[in-house]
């Protein structure tokens, strides 16, 4: 099946924001021995949220 789709400009803009895992896990390096992202390699997710004051 051959079809033609016009992607509306508005949707093109909405789809344009790409998020990569790396940007969530950039490590600030001070005295810690760190490497890029990865960290939560076994069961990766936020497991605790500090209570809002």
């Amino acid at each position: 099946m051959i079809y033609k789709i016009k992607l509306p400009i508005i949707i093109k803009k909405i789809q344009s924001t790409e998020i990569k895992e790396k940007s969530f896990h950039e490590i600030e390096s001070n005295s810690l021995q760190t490497k890029k992202h990865l960290a939560r390699e076994i069961y990766p997710r936020q497991s605790f949220f500090p209570e809002k004051k």
Partner: protein
Amino acid sequence: MYQFFKNIFLTKGFNRTLVYDSLTSKIHFFPNDLYDQLLLNNFRIDKKNNEVFEFLNKKGLLQKISDDLVDCFIDLDDEIQIPYDIATLVFELSGSSSKNLYKLKNQNILQYNFIFADYTSLKSIELFVDFINECESDTIELTFLNGFVYSKHLFELIKSVKKIILLNNFAGIKIDDPSTHKNRYLNSWNDIHFRLSINFINYLESLKHHTYFNKKVFINKDCEIKNSQETKEIYGNLNNDNSFDIAKVFKNPTFKKLWSIKKEDTLVCQDCEFRRLCVDNRLPIKIKNNWVHEEECNYNPYISKWSHEDGFKSLKELDIITKNGYLEMNKEKLSLITNELWEG
């Protein structure tokens, strides 16, 4: 002919479809119109359709395939079994709770998140170090909250620990780590990072479970056993028994009540393209046949904006309300607002 690689998963939201590449851990978006067209064609693409082909192929989502082989690539089974009774045990480390750590030794626990705060004493840190040296988990997560003052002492004691150590520094304390092991990872955090976890385990688990409450146990500084910090019900106290048996806790019919609440069953979330990658600690409430949240998320799927982004509007501001277990909105008004936000 081309088709999507089998490690590519699509989640259709209100405005757009999220494309999750589970090998590279990248996400992309494309229009819902395109999703509907692809669905009609069983997600196969003829190269003659240049616009769509170029768009998807540029993102590395497509594989070339001959007609003879097209049925040889089966869909991946998107269910996951986690072979542990507890996936994450969150433990507030206090003088009282640390004396009971030894009771956790023979439990089937995947990993721990220890909370260090103003209730954490020097003695409790020593008991904690003894525990992690002996426990079977490969990964230990440490979370620092305001009031924790013994970080120097802690890092001195764990400098030779070879397990993977994840650090959540919510207290903003100075970390002076003498270890030379490259096994320490500092989780940076922000609004988006808090809510999303772009990884395959999370994606699979979210199909049938709530990815925050499922297989979680929380033990607070007073040794009370709960499902999570956010839940109210208490299911026992580590101080009361000589041993801890999670099977006894699980026998209580309400302990697991939040474990299987999927985003697909939750109003607003079910319209969100991030729903399979989301980690959400808000307590869901059941109204009639649907689950809802009292507090709004920091992402609004109806205008595709995060709360920190220009143009964000809350559900309340957009007159999107949940009433009697149903969602009410003015789609024409919403369409105008979205057009205005994303045009030009």
